[in-house]
Symmetry: D2
Subunit: 363 residues, 4 copies
């Protein structure tokens, strides 16, 4: 009951990092959608490690095989399932230390939850690798949204203490987002990309890791998407985003900083422009009362530093029930923030398409 | 499909601020739970306005009537429905200005969503008043959790720029939380209560409003609650919390600030204490891989300043399709943060009980 | 989790036969639907007992109060909740015999399920009275379907051994169904109404009860409604119909008798008529592959004789854990079949509307 | 939203008859269940065609590959996905006639539903082949139920006009059911197997097909399983059974024939036997008020004759929008009833396990 989500569009993901394959089943896609497999592969490449020195050395090709729901280059309307075979696994790395719970990894909570029966290799079902399935589903969702001119894009708002500027919450168009989509380290202030890269290489050298914040925007989403109370746009997107490993905070519009404002500062006053309803400011991040208001959707996601670090750590041996020391081997990212971008955009696309389908699944 | 939530415990809420009543239907409660109606009334009183000068002058008694699912002072196991009649409504206040969209209220998005058919009086179904139903359901959930020694409590982390200290994330017991539950302005550093109160009175006088942050903790929740991927404890709680009107950000543990840390700082190393698995730090806020790890759950919620302010604002007249000015009359809170505390705790209690029931609905 | 149903339109019912009230919450109705309260009252009157000598002497006015989701005589689009107060309860009748499990009633299974905490008076949550909530919701669904010219109607196919003729499965129009809706004992062969009435009065006199079969039709439902695999039209309707107390069998089209045919007899061959796709026969009952094919939907529902009979029966005393004898007092129907008609039509209307909404909730 | 079912145990199926593969994803299995793959293969063999002259000549090996959720020969507790590659497809057979709608097949309704984009080859997603996925999932469910001594078995109650005797509804033990599971044409009166076989060969020779009824029993299911109103045991099982292609009727216990009884005949009176609550008769088929009462569960399912027949039929050409004639080639079953047995038992096992999990997912 845990790995399925969606109201009108049900997405279920399955698989473990070192099992035979991971995959996704998407139930509820409209029929007749022509898929651009090249675009899907591009999105999946965005989250693949080993593109640069900034990431883990594990090579994941993420070649997907569409099993069902796809006929004559179009969706059929019946469940579309795809699997991605796992390759270049070094499961032996995990065998030796399987009873040593890696701090801030899901080893311990997974062990308790599944009474020791979960596949611990490479994080198993908890692995960030599972986000490849989300990115696949999100790429399809993005294609469908693109037909309605809706764009989703992100920049890295910060890595460690290095901070990029923010999106313009008012005047933001799809071209900027599309341009960001093409970069390995998408930032608005290009000078920050270099600084971030240097920081990542530095912590990598130290066997450490670093976190960051991703700022995501959705433009051209019409007003009226999302439903009070519990299927509100922010509730639904937050649930999806918190499902991505490593996320510790989500905020919309001015987010936590709106809590410091007065109402007279925070309220987004309305005006008409060319027959369109707009607001002078966008502290709401495009969502009021859980429903889109036609302004850009603004989301910030806080990502913790990868818990996989090369440093010696104190831990416990779960089978012996006693303290232990851990020195993790293996290939790990010093910073998962750049890779998380694709996963965040994917779940945002899935969540928005899902809620939009309330207004009619078949066009 | 919007006003129902839950996996094992389904909570559906209904009603509008100025309609006949609001209410809640709770499906899936275990049978035989003895309800302490006094405790439920106390919880509901916590979110009632007009307790002090700090709140709106509207009197809401929030007298609930249990309609079903309650027999011989105990739950029956069948749906428990309760309604709360609306009283002291001044709907006329809203009639005059119904086509003037109040900035950062759900007037506009509700109008679009429901094509002008929603009940606009007092915010209708979007009103904060709906949280009374959540608090009722949450009070029952709290009682059931209390039987397992699980406590939920909060303090006001900040109002405007005035900031309280944080919870001790490691050594936190239920007594502190119970004590906080009894205060109108719960803070850890008592000197801050006075400052916050002064600030609220000041903005009230100015016809303005102010936001804040609530920090909530859950103690004695055993490890193993929550399910990867999408029914993770953080995903589930975030969805519930973002359903509360006015929430713009949610973070767990060190939240956004963890994004600035190195992995070697952020990782919560393990140790054994009296046969229990514990961590030296609790940056994770008690949740790793979407599952509780036995440490205190720490949640911070950002709440925007009430959009209802007494100042003149620019807006649009939705029927005329042109710009307009708005001068809101009516009785409003200068700060909903103290009242939001009860609502946040309620949905946290509902969410945790719901996920715990996975392990067996009937005891 | 038990008393909520629906995919796009969620209907949840609550209440017990002798509690304060029963009710229903409908989440997902389109906004702006003008409700004809007279029609709703008429539908509810159809299931009310005590209309004739054929039914129980209990008077139930079934006056409903709409609590929410209804504003200016129209649906708002937010949850529409209605409650129906319980009156003329004779709970004392049940107190004396509460530990004596009435055969083929839900006393025993309810006792086990809810560990003795369920409200046993008058069957509690299991009572046929709960169908009043379904009929209320169904009446609204019927109104919405009527706007698309879709009619639902039924006749009593049999009571005991007395059998009416069948619907014409090919040429069936809404007028016939509307006419049947107006009769207390709707039959196609009027001579059977008299015979059925006599049989019911005879078994009543003997303190016994009798069962029957209801045949329901839906006309003018367009092709394409229902989804393979599990949300198929027949699956969805069957689930709803089996939720009505006393139903023991459901069949579509030629149903059980199709199992005796050859394929060459059972297949519904196609032809074109005035540009419309039609079939020469309708053994499929308008549903193929779980999806409507544009022909009339034909459903037959088997209803058991009311288990409440005036005769002495062998049973057990659940508290003493030993055999006992039971002599039920109270006012009971000798035949619930005529009253079940309204309930069956209600859930069929709810189920069809729910599946139709997949194609767009708001029109 | 169509191909997923389940409350506590979510089963989603995907695939098309002539696509790459079909498969199933099972979310919510308890961790640590040792799977007997031999038993699973045996169950899948039961529904495989071409075992005897009685079935289609298509060879389907139904070799499954478990992709996830299975580690060290045990379930992990995370989603268990398996795929079954499609082989020996003769898709060409379907290309030539793709615009000719086969009577009583889902060609036409599928075409309308999916606007001509569904995979029409071999029935696509509507094919009976999809039940292989259900049988796989059901085999796992059966294993888990077996641990609690719960057995599920069936006999063929009738094929055409040839009728077997009925189960003994009162004294029925698992051994009889286990024995039936081993037979290709399971019947209680062995003389009927020969007659049925002769009938099937006769209609095969004539290029025709024949339907039948399957009677299924579940023994040793404890009282208390199933929830009023909509998740009742009969509602839930009926929904699942009607999802199997070709099912036109479902009844429990005495089913349609109970409608002809008097209450004094139909009521199942209670008595105590060795401290156990039992009933003298079992017209209820083990379900009262939607909840199991501890007596054997009795279900009868009506299956239509396969619509694939070798005879010339009248139909339409959907693309030309005009009448046409159809002469189906290809390999088809003259009678799918024997193969349906495995599918029915599978969904009954899934449905019962799902509802039992309400009482605690992890043991």
């Amino acid at each position: 009951m845990a790995s399925i989500i969606g109201i009108n569009l049900k997405v279920s993901i399955f698989g473990e990092s070192h099992g035979k394959a991971i995959g996704v089943n998407i139930d509820g896609l409209p029929p007749g959608i022509k898929l651009n497999l090249g675009n899907i592969r591009y999105e999946m490449m965005r989250r693949v490690p080993a593109r640069t020195a900034l990431s883990t050395a594990r090579r994941e090709e993420d070649e997907f095989e569409i099993i069902s729901g796809y006929f004559n280059h179009r969706t059929t309307g019946t469940p579309l399932c795809a699997i991605i075979r796992n390759q270049d696994k070094r499961s032996k790395d995990y065998e030796r230390t399987k009873s040593l719970m890696r701090p801030s990894h899901a080893d311990y909570t997974g062990y308790i939850k599944y009474r020791g029966h979960n596949d611990y290799r490479g994080g198993g079902h908890f692995s960030g690798r599972l986000t490849a399935s989300l990115v696949f589903a999100g790429a399809i969702a993005k294609e469908i949204l693109k037909e309605e001119d809706i764009s989703i894009g992100s920049h890295i708002k910060s890595i460690g203490e290095i901070e990029d500027v923010s999106f313009d919450y008012i005047d933001l168009d799809g071209d900027i987002l599309d341009k960001l989509n093409k970069e390995a380290l998408p930032v608005l202030d290009q000078s920050k990309a270099k600084e971030m890269e240097e920081l990542i290489l530095k912590v990598k050298k130290e066997g450490d890791s670093v976190g960051g914040v991703v700022e995501t925007a959705v433009v051209n989403l019409r007003a009226g998407i999302g439903s009070p109370i519990f299927d509100s746009l922010d509730s639904h997107l937050a649930k999806l985003i918190f499902s991505i490993p490593g996320v510790k905070g989500v905020e919309f519009g001015s987010g936590f900083s709106i809590s410091r404002m007065l109402g007279s500062q925070a309220n987004d006053e309305f005006y008409m422009k060319d027959g369109q309803v707009r607001t002078f400011t966008n502290h709401s991040g495009g969502i009021v009362g859980g429903i889109s208001n036609g302004m850009p959707i603004i989301i910030r996601t806080a990502i913790k530093p990868t818990p996989s670090i090369g440093k010696r750590q104190r831990t416990i041996d779960i089978e012996k029930g006693e303290g232990a020391e851990l020195n993790i081997k293996g290939r790990h990212d010093p910073c998962i923030v750049p890779r998380a971008v694709a996963a965040i955009e994917a779940v945002v696309a899935i969540g928005i398409l899902d809620l939009m389908m309330e207004e009619g699944k078949w066009k």
